[in-house]
Amino acid sequence: MQSKPVTLTILDVVSIILLGISTYLALVFAPTELVMGDVQRVFYFHIGTAWTALLGFILAAVFSVIYLVKKDLKWDRYQVAAIEVSLIFFFITIVLGSIWARPAWNTWWTWDPRLTTAAVTELIYIAYFMLRQGIDDPDRRARFGAVYALVGGLSAPITFFAIRLFRTIHPVVIGGANAEAEGGFSMTADMRVAFFFALFTFTIIFIDLFWNRIRLGDLQEKVEQLKLKVTM
């Protein structure tokens, strides 16, 4: 417990190296997009963080179900770890998207399905942490957290489809020509390299942070138990 596993240390180092390479690929290696200019380069990190955040939210919903069935606090700690890391990544996604939107759409924000769903999702998981903060008993905290993460995890995709009833201007970069989308572009081969490398990098970083956060949760649990024992 105290000593960090070697694999995790290696993963830490690998994450940093990959982040460096990915940044190089995105900023230098990939060609400048002709219509939008340099700002298009935030897209690599935008997609990288978005993909991992969604992965984390889906994992969290799965952990909810497992916890509710097995009632083992281990799954609760996994869930908190997944949601916390995803919340940070998703925040980066939203900010990067907004920065990109300013020159591309001429506005920081539009109420388009993806943007609105992103904002609502972020709020759901902030509410999740507010709920947990108000509960002292670890078992109850875990149960309520799991229920809320499940309800939230189901509601977020429905929100997305609900807003899809309206028109979107968000470009669909992968798979599909969206005639209405403004600011879409097609990727050159070098852009693709940077793009897939960013996806890979952020997946590794996510695993690394997720693992570290689980260890933090384990430590928290240990301290709490010892506190109970000492004050008894």
């Binding site: 509410a127 507010m130 108000g134 109850r140 149960r143 309520f144 809320y148 309800v151 509601s155 009833l165």
Partner: protein, 235 residues
Amino acid sequence: MANGQPNAQPPSGNFIKAVSAVVWKDLQAEFRSRELFSAMLVFSLLIILIFNFALELDVETRRSVTSGVLWATFAFAGTLGLNRSMAIEKDRGCLDGLLLAPVDRSAIYFGKVISNLAFMLIVEIIVLPVYSVLYNINLFQPGLLMVILLGSIGYVGVGTLLSTMSVQTRTRDILLPILLFPVVVPVLLAAVKASNGFLEGLELSEFLLPINLLIAYDIIFIAVAFMVFDNVVEE
């Protein structure tokens, strides 16, 4: 759950009996005090009044924002009702009493949903004619009423589950809207869109999708709440 008690009656009959007992208890208590109902109603009317100042509801704007104003009003008044109805249970120790009763816990959930829904619908039934008179719009259309019913079911179904959780936390007075609003966004969206369709007299096919979405949401979330309710009342 699964207390394995031999039931003299068939389980389904027992379940319905338990649900109606919870509903009856709530309605009777409310009938005596009328505090929940009057608070929700006055609050709703105040919200409509505030919207009047905030949006300058002249004839032109009114047409486009009516459904939005109505659903915002219902959503805010709804949290007031949900919070209070669950807080009463908690404070008077009723919840513990209910949990001791040898009935399936989900019976408590359905009982609370039905009584919360009843309060909400009564408030809505009074708000609608008042709004109609104040702003000279006929809101009594069967389609619109159906949308309001469907929307309220989804809202209360999720709201009852979440309010059961929120009253058991330290921050109980402020937590419910924060938990509930981001999760019921689809209900509000679809309900506003469908209501708008009816109010503007569009073809049904143009806004069938939001109505279907409301129905799907109601079914999914009531089913989920039914499955997980045990976890939010367990001691």
